[in-house]
C-alpha cells in the first residue's frame, strides 16, 4: 500500500507540478463554460421543456471535448516510461506490476475527476447570480456527474491500455481516441439501423450517449453502473497483463 501511495503521489505531481494538468483543466473549464453559456442563450431564445443540465450534456460539443480529454490525460503514462527507459528502473525496483498500473490509473482518474468540479460550480453559480428559479434539479446535476465519472473510469482505463501498447505518446493517443470513438459509435448503431436488428439490445446496453441521456434526467439505472465498473476492471487487468507480458514471454 505504501508503494502504491508513493507511486500515486509521483504521478499526481507530474500532472499538477507542471503546466500540463493546469492546461487540461483550463481547457475543460473553458469548454464546460462555453456549453453552458450557449445553452443559456438558447434558453433565452426558445422555450424549452427539458432542464438546463440535460440540454448542456446533450450538446454535440460535449462529446467532442469529453472524448478528447482521455488521450491527453493518459497517453503519456506508460509510453513515455517505455520510450525513455525509466520503466526498466521502475520494474527492477521491488515494485509489483499491479501497483504501477493502479497508481498511474488512479492518478489519471483523480485528475479527470477534478476536471468536473467547475461544472458543479457553474450550476451553483447559476442559482446564485440569477433570480429565476433554477431550470434544473440537484438530481440532474448529480446524475450527470455520476455517469460522467463512471464513463471516465472506463475511458481512462482504455487510455492506460493504449499507452501500454506502444512507446510513442502520439500513437498511444491515437489508439486511445480510436478505442473511444469505436465504443461511442457502437452506441449510435441503432440510430442508423433501427431497433429491428437482433443485436439492438446489445447496442443500447453499451450506448454511452443513451446512458448520459438517462442519467442527466436524474434517472439512475444500475445496468450502466455495473457495465462501466466491470469493464474498467477488465481493461485494467488487460493493461496489467500487457505490461507483465514482457516478464513472461519466452
Amino acid at each position: 500500500m505504501r508503494v502504491f501511495r508513493i507511486l500515486f503521489m509521483k504521478e499526481l505531481k507530474s500532472y499538477f507540478f507542471s503546466p500540463f494538468g493546469w492546461l487540461i483543466m483550463a481547457f475543460a473549464a473553458l469548454m464546460q463554460g462555453l456549453s453552458l453559456s450557449t445553452t443559456m442563450k438558447g434558453f433565452m431564445d426558445v422555450a424549452q421543456s427539458e432542464s438546463l443540465v440535460y440540454v448542456v450534456f446533450q450538446a454535440p460539443t460535449f462529446w467532442f471535448y469529453f472524448l478528447f480529454l482521455f488521450p491527453v490525460l493518459t497517453m503519456r503514462l506508460f509510453s513515455e516510461e517505455n520510450r525513455s527507459g525509466t520503466l526498466e528502473g521502475l520494474l527492477t525496483a521491488p515494485v509489483q506490476t499491479w501497483q504501477v498500473v493502479l497508481s498511474k490509473y488512479s492518478a489519471a482518474y483523480l485528475t479527470f475527476a477534478i476536471l468536473w468540479i467547475p461544472v458543479l460550480f457553474h450550476f451553483k453559480l447559476f442559482t446564485m447570480i440569477t433570480n429565476v428559479p433554477p431550470p434544473f434539479t440537484n438530481g440532474e446535476i448529480y446524475g450527470s456527474l455520476l455517469i460522467i465519472l463512471l464513463m471516465g473510469a472506463l475511458f481512462t482505463a482504455m487510455g492506460c491500455l493504449a499507452s501500454c501498447l506502444t512507446s510513442s505518446q502520439i500513437i498511444a493517443g491515437i489508439v486511445c481516441i480510436g478505442f473511444l470513438f469505436i465504443h461511442f459509435l457502437l452506441g449510435l448503431v441503432t440510430l442508423w439501423w433501427g431497433d429491428q436488428i437482433p443485436a439492438a439490445p446489445f447496442f443500447h446496453f453499451i450506448s454511452s450517449r443513451e446512458h448520459l441521456d438517462l442519467f442527466s434526467r436524474g434517472l439512475l439505472d444500475s445496468r450502466p453502473i455495473i457495465y462501466y465498473l466491470t469493464m474498467t476492471g477488465f481493461v485494467l487487468i488487460l493493461t496489467h497483463h500487457v505490461l507483465d507480458f514482457r516478464r513472461w514471454k519466452p
Binding site: V3, K10, G89, A93
Partner: protein, 310 residues
C-alpha cells in the same frame, strides 16, 4: 552471491544468450566483458528480473530470479545502460522517491540520502533538475540510485559509457571504493577499467562465456604471453635457425634494424621462460646482445584473441 546455470535468452530467431554459466562470490568485483551485441545487457536484464530467461536458471543471494523476483530486486542495486531517469525531477527528490520505493523511510532515508549524495559527489547539485545535468552527473545520479538502499549486489551496465576521461576516472575510483563493501557485477568494454577495478573477469561473445578468471590468470594463459623480444648483432636467418632450435620455442620472426642489428620476436609456450636460454645462446655464439625482454600480454590482447571473428 550470483549463481547462473545455463541461462539462455532467445529473441525470435536470434539467440542472444546461449547457455551461459558462471558464479560471482560475495565481495567480488566482476567485470563482464564482451563486444557490442555479445549479450551483456540481456544477461543483466535477466538477472534483474526485467526480462525472463528463455531457458536456464539463476539465483541471486539464494533467491530464484524468476520465481522470487521481488526478493531478488530488494537485494540488488541496478544501474541500467544509458541511465534512464525521470528528467523532470530534482536530484534529491528523485533519490528520495527511489529510496521510498525500496521501503526506506524517516530518518533512515534522510541519512542515507545525505550519504549517497556525498559518496556520488552530488551534494552541490541536489536541488537541480535532472534534465539540466550533464551526462557525467546523470551517471552519478544513477549510481546513487543503485546504492541508496545499501544493496548486497550492485549491477552496473556500462557505468562509464560516454563519459570524458576525468569523469571516467572519478566514476572508476568510486567503483573501487564501493568494491570494498559491495559485490559488484559491471559490464563494460573498456578494458583498462576492468584491469584497474575488477578482481574477476567474465568474457562473453555471441552469447557464450569465453573465459572466466582473474585478469592476471587470463593474461598468463594467453598464447602470446610468452613473446620475447631480442636484439642481437647477427644475421637474421642464422639467428632464427638457432633460436628456433631452443626448447619451448614455437616460432621466431626477425626484422633487420638500420644500424646492423636484428630484432627477433620469439614466441614460446605459455608459462615458460626462455630468456635465460637466449642469453646463454648469445654468450656461447658471441653474438652481441643489447636487449632481451619479455612482453607481457595485456587484457586487450586476451579480449581480442577470444572474441575476434577471423
Amino acid at each position: 552471491m550470483i549463481e547462473i546455470a545455463s541461462l539462455s535468452k532467445r529473441y525470435g530467431r536470434h539467440l542472444a544468450v546461449d547457455e551461459i554459466s558462471f558464479e560471482v562470490a560475495k565481495g567480488e568485483v566482476v567485470g563482464f566483458l564482451g563486444p557490442n551485441g555479445a549479450g551483456k545487457s540481456t544477461t543483466l536484464k535477466m538477472l534483474t528480473g526485467f526480462l525472463p530467461p528463455t531457458a536456464g536458471a539463476a539465483r541471486i543471494g539464494g533467491y530464484d530470479i524468476f520465481r522470487e523476483s521481488l526478493e531478488v530486486r530488494k537485494h540488488i542495486g541496478y544501474m541500467p545502460e544509458n541511465v534512464p531517469l525521470y528528467t523532470e525531477m530534482r536530484v534529491k527528490e528523485y533519490l528520495r522517491f527511489r529510496g521510498a520505493l525500496r521501503g526506506m523511510k524517516g530518518s533512515h532515508l534522510r541519512t542515507r540520502l545525505g550519504e549517497v549524495m556525498e559518496t556520488a559527489g552530488l551534494t552541490h547539485v541536489r536541488r537541480k533538475m535532472i534534465k539540466t545535468l550533464s551526462k557525467g552527473y546523470r551517471q552519478r545520479v544513477g549510481l546513487a540510485d543503485a546504492l541508496i538502499h545499501e544493496p548486497d549486489l550492485l549491477i552496473l551496465d556500462e557505468p562509464t559509457n560516454g563519459l570524458d576521461p576525468n569523469q571516467i576516472r572519478s566514476i572508476r575510483s568510486l567503483i573501487q571504493r564501493l568494491g570494498e563493501k559491495h559485490t559488484i557485477l559491471l559490464s563494460t568494454h573498456i578494458l583498462s577499467e576492468v584491469e584497474m577495478t575488477c578482481n574477476k573477469v567474465v568474457i562473453i561473445d555471441e552469447g557464450k562465456v569465453k573465459a572466466a578468471d582473474t585478469p592476471s590468470n587470463l593474461v598468463k594463459n594467453m598464447r602470446r604471453a610468452g613473446r620475447i623480444s631480442v636484439e642481437m648483432k647477427v644475421a637474421a636467418d642464422e639467428g632464427e635457425t638457432y633460436l628456433n632450435a631452443l626448447e619451448n620455442v614455437k616460432k621466431v620472426t626477425s626484422e633487420p634494424l638500420r644500424d646492423g642489428w636484428t630484432r627477433f620476436a620469439v614466441f614460446c609456450e605459455p608459462r615458460t621462460d626462455t630468456r635465460l636460454k637466449i642469453s646463454e645462446l648469445s654468450h656461447e655464439k658471441r653474438w652481441p646482445l643489447r636487449s632481451l625482454a619479455r612482453k607481457n600480454a595485456t587484457l586487450e590482447e586476451v579480449f581480442v584473441e577470444l572474441t575476434r571473428k577471423d
